[in-house]
Symmetry: C5
Subunit: 351 residues, 5 copies
């Protein structure tokens, strides 16, 4: 969850030079090709690049690529599918802001795929989707599972997926990624609810760290989702000729989801800020409580100590010292002082 990826290795290179920016993932690049049309659905892996070409008939092709660090592979894709050099550059650079670019005959959508790891941390992966007349290319940093359900539906042939065009496939993929966001939000919101209890019962510096960690994660999330708002909105209004009108209503639905997610992130942010306020107020209040104890103790015992000090003086001429009832009288005086003090504190509502 680093804020900024090392881009410096790119400085000074001509624009359009392919450079992989991001964590070097060890896995081999996997390429899975689905080609389907109505009743039929072929799934193949390990194709030669010659076989990898936009379909020429009515069928729909989905090429799912896991791994973007092999620049030679990206270049081969560029040639076979006529992709703009800047588009390829953006696929290789995993530090992209989500966006929708329109390269005339290709729509290019960059998104962030979020998931919660076993250690309860948010994991981010960049997904690039390229949409052409009857194909969709999807590039993931490594072959994660978010599209599993889509693959299953394609294989099973249930739903309208196989009957529909590449635009519906694009929507299905985008929808799968956005649906995942809700899970991340649920995880975060549970953490925040837990935090709000903790902040009151036990305000410690570790609590403060948890608050700031959540704040940071929400900042991070917002950066990943916020720009998607505009991107999905543009998609639902796109004038791209391969996007049918009847599909745009689905993208508007995705847009609604993204707006709701952005909304929820803002609400969670306000709740985290409120937690910080409560934390600080609790600290203040406790300081007050501590100070009251200190003041009460001091205020009660200081006069008493003074009085016993007086009768500890060694003057020769101190008549009280010789009185038979001197000691009990002084003890009584001190009891009265304590009672008066307690009354005073009671009046001030300190005890």
């Amino acid at each position: 969850m680093k804020l900024i990826q090392k881009r410096s290795r790119k400085t000074g290179l001509p624009p359009g030079t392919l450079v992989h920016i991001g964590e070097k993932r060890p896995a081999k690049v996997t390429i899975t090709v689905f080609n389907y049309a109505g009743t039929r659905c072929d799934e193949r892996q390990d194709l030669s690049f010659e076989e990898l070409a936009p379909p020429t008939d009515e069928s729909v092709t989905w090429v799912d690529v896991g791994g973007v660090h092999r620049l030679d592979i990206l270049e081969s894709f560029g040639k076979q599918f006529q992709l703009h050099p800047l588009l390829l550059e953006d696929i290789a650079n995993t530090d992209q802001r989500p966006k929708l670019d329109d390269y005339e005959s290709r729509l290019f959508l960059v998104m962030k795929m979020l998931s919660v790891s076993d250690r309860q941390e948010i994991v981010v992966e960049q997904v690039s989707l390229v949409f052409g007349p009857n194909f969709v290319l999807s590039f993931q940093e490594n072959g994660a599972d978010v599209f599993t359900s889509v693959r299953d539906r394609l294989r099973g042939g249930k739903g309208r997926l196989r009957q529909s065009g590449a635009d519906y496939l694009l929507y299905t993929l985008v929808d799968a990624i956005v649906d995942q966001y809700f899970e991340v939000l649920e995880a975060l919101s549970e953490k925040i609810e837990a935090l709000q209890d903790l902040v009151v019962s036990n305000p410690k510096p570790e609590t403060l760290h948890k608050i700031h960690d959540l704040k940071r994660q929400l900042l991070f999330l917002r950066r990943a989702v916020w720009p998607l708002r505009e991107a999905t909105n543009n998609l639902s209004r796109s004038e791209c000729p391969f996007l049918q009108e009847s599909i745009k209503v689905f993208f508007r639905d995705v847009y609604d989801h993204v707006v709701q997610i952005v909304d929820t992130i803002e609400t969670l942010r306000e709740m985290v800020s409120a937690s910080l306020d409560i934390y600080l107020s609790s600290i203040s209040y406790r300081l007050n409580a501590v100070m009251k104890v200190l003041t009460i103790i001091t205020t009660i015992f200081m006069p008493l100590t003074f009085i016993v000090g007086v009768y500890g003086m060694n003057f020769e001429h101190m008549p009280e010292l010789k009185w038979e009832w001197g000691y009990p009288l002084v003890l009584g005086l001190m009891v009265m002082i304590v009672i008066a003090m307690l009354g005073f504190f009671k009046g001030k509502k300190w005890i």
Copy 2:
């Protein structure tokens, strides 16, 4: 009043799959049908689905459904009234953001119905309104009472409701929901006024919790109302052919109400924030007061204790101890010190 509802059971399902998201309400789904035209008004319950169809004559039909967790029922509605799958999906998902969607021949409006429970908590329920040429479908999570007055007016035949078309019925329902918001605001604003007195007279951690609880409720309210602004504005400018011009002025009036509610929510939010400021200032001020007492006591008694300590020393050669007037002189000295101290504090305006 949960921020986020469990949506995760939806992840991985094909889009358009009907899944109920929200609290499972135990009640049986109730369906009430009103069919009216001018002088006539039929009210029926427990119809077969074949009878449930858009009216073919000039009459207006209002189908009021209580309960959205029975997906089979929703699907039947979808068939009978030609509703888009995404529209049905949004009805079943009670975690929607308020919005207006235009599915060509159907207007779809999602709203939040708010009410104050007996335990003074805000209760939220989602209401989905579907508006077609001469019918309105309303889906509530359970059959709450907010539409009671509308039903009574239909039955009684008073006002222009029966004489008007389905668009006026839609307005009447929306207006009934929005009017309810004012009651919630009144309840909240009374709580806030009470809080502002409390915060000054007795700033305790519980007060802080009340502040944050109100803040949270207002956050919640804003989420429910804010998007309605755009929705009602769009409604008043809608180009939907079934919405007559003369009715749009009524929706503009609803829009005005929503704007005023949003406005008031913002004002209440600022007042709650101000309460937090006062709370913190009060704590600070009290700390100051406590510290002054501590300092005054310490500053007066420390020198006195020192003096009596001096004459408690056991040196053999301490001439003062033998003086006849030693003791009274020391007492007098101490009284003078106390007077000087009190003067000093007076000068500093501490007492």
Copy 3:
């Protein structure tokens, strides 16, 4: 200056039902009618409703109504001047947001009339202005004096008022209300300047209350003025056929005034916020000062008290006690300690 008026009695009633919302003012409703054209100006009161009708000739009629709680009277107006039911509803509801509504042949402007009461509080009253081809209706909650100068000018016939149409009259009334705002701002700004001195010289909880009272009043003011910005702007660009081009430049001037008022309110708000900052800083600083006194006293007297305690011990074998110069030596030691301490505090810039 209540934030929210009781609206709940309206819930459940059919829309367009006239309900008075607001303080029930005891006074009888007063109706004053001015009818003028160039040299002539008739002023009448206590007309029958039949006489109250839009003028049919070129003359201009201004009907000034004081009191909106008599719903029967409002309904009569509605009939005589063809006012839309929603318009009447808004007149009766004194909890309106300022706005400009365009009911085809009637412009409807709601404003807040502000004044400073003798007890230096802001008093708010709603004024509704209805503008038709050659008449203006003004509805006030009670007959306050803000239009006195307009009446005098009508009676005296000075200025261009009598020579101009109803649109100029409308402008004159709006201008009179807006001019009043400047007086309220002046009163507030004087209070704020006074506060800023107080906050430094004597930061007490009462000062804090004054700050928050001012904050609240400004919040209130902003709610009353902010929406007027849009309303007057729309007025100056209105395409209403009864508004002459040459008059619109006057409304633009009013718009400029409103913008300036909004601007000033924002500035005053920032100044009040700054006062709160100063208040809190002053409290902090004073705490610091108090703590320094406490620490200095403690640090000086604790070691001294310890030393005298040492020589107050009753050990049989304490050679110092028998020295002839023991006592003066100890006294000298203590003077040196005090001097050293004072030097230390001087070095820390505490004294």
Copy 4:
């Protein structure tokens, strides 16, 4: 540098009534007329009002008026140059927001002229510029020096000023005023840099006052400059027929300057806010330091004082008192306690 000028004397007067709002400046009103065309430039003062008329030939006339409190003079101008009554009213009212008004054949621009007085305070003066076909009228509150350089250039005939039309003269005047703003910003920014050092080295209440004084001045500045952004932008896009295309590029340059000034003001505001943060943090940190000293002293001496108190008790049966090494043993014990305490504080990094 008052926030609000007394406007109340205007309330109740008919709109368009000329009333001077602002400080009554004692000086006589000065009127200087420049009339030039290419090689020629006449400068005259003390003209009769008949002579003061828009030029009828190709020459350009600049009338510079110092003093706007003589309403009769303003009215004469109004007649001679066909100025709208509202325009005259705005000239007389020196509490205007900067703005550009377009009265068909006259452009009216209100600006604030800022300068730094000898006592390092910001002095504001309102300048009203009226631009007609071949004349410019400038109204200042008193004849300040900001236009001196323009006058010199006119007299000397250097640059393109004399060769150009009235639109270029207008630009020259506006540019002279805006250039002055940079000087004010420089003065303020130097003060702020000085403050930032002070706030760390010596956080005193006076520092706080300086911070708030700067905040107030920046608030003031923003009010004067912010609306100018829109005004100059409108000027550079104006469709006024007397403004040549080639001159508009110069107004765009002025607009760029204004944007930069607004930008800088915002940055300075953030820096002043940061100063306040540092001030508060410094106070907090110092409180911490003071408390540590107090706690260290108390923690060391309290146990010691207790121990010597123990051996100051007068019990008959206290064997230690009779030991020959009792006194040295107790002294040794106390030294060990001090050493232990110092180690404890060292461990807590307090010393």
Copy 5:
């Protein structure tokens, strides 16, 4: 990294007068000219001004000027390349806001070149780019290295640079500058991460200074980058005839980078603000800890000291003093008090 450069020397001069504003750099002005077309690339220095002219054939000319303080040189450029006087003025004034100006036949782009110095400070230099039909002029404050890679590519002839027109050269230069920003961001973000650790482990005033120094640098950065957003956006939509459609897609890519940089700056700003919050909370928490120690010590020893004081009194009639077990009993009482106190603090979770 000064906020405001001395501009005052410009006040009072006619607009369009060339004045150098900025640090006077000692270096001689260097002028390097590249002229290339396809396979050919000539590089020359020290040309006479007669030779410096826009190319008349199809070749592309890039004139790179290091140093803008020699106004005579700028004027010569102005004549040879037909540059508007305001454009020249803006080149000489290094205190410009980034912007894109369109002087009909010349596009003028002002940018800030940022780099991190050896002492880890951000260094800013203004770069002005003038773009004409087939030439680009670049003006730097001194000949820094950011364009080195561009020069090398021109000399080497690799990539499409030599084959393309002046618009692609313009893009290459802008891209080189923007790429550098990422390096600056990386440096800053590393500092911020380091700070966040420091703020928790050791909150000292120096940490506060570091926070504010970073805040200031980010403020500075934002000022340099923010306006570039609009400038690059305008560039990618420019209707300038020399900018080919196919090149605009590259400028859109630059725009995307700028948006991402602005985004990152905002995120970093929030992180720095969070650091300040943590700093203040840590100080508060430590104060609390210190106060607890003080209170515990005081609360334990004050009663003990009082008790030993009681038995240090010199009354003749104090029976306890004569008891044989008096001393051990008192010691036992005191041990019990200590145990009770520790239990009390344990209950309050203070220890």
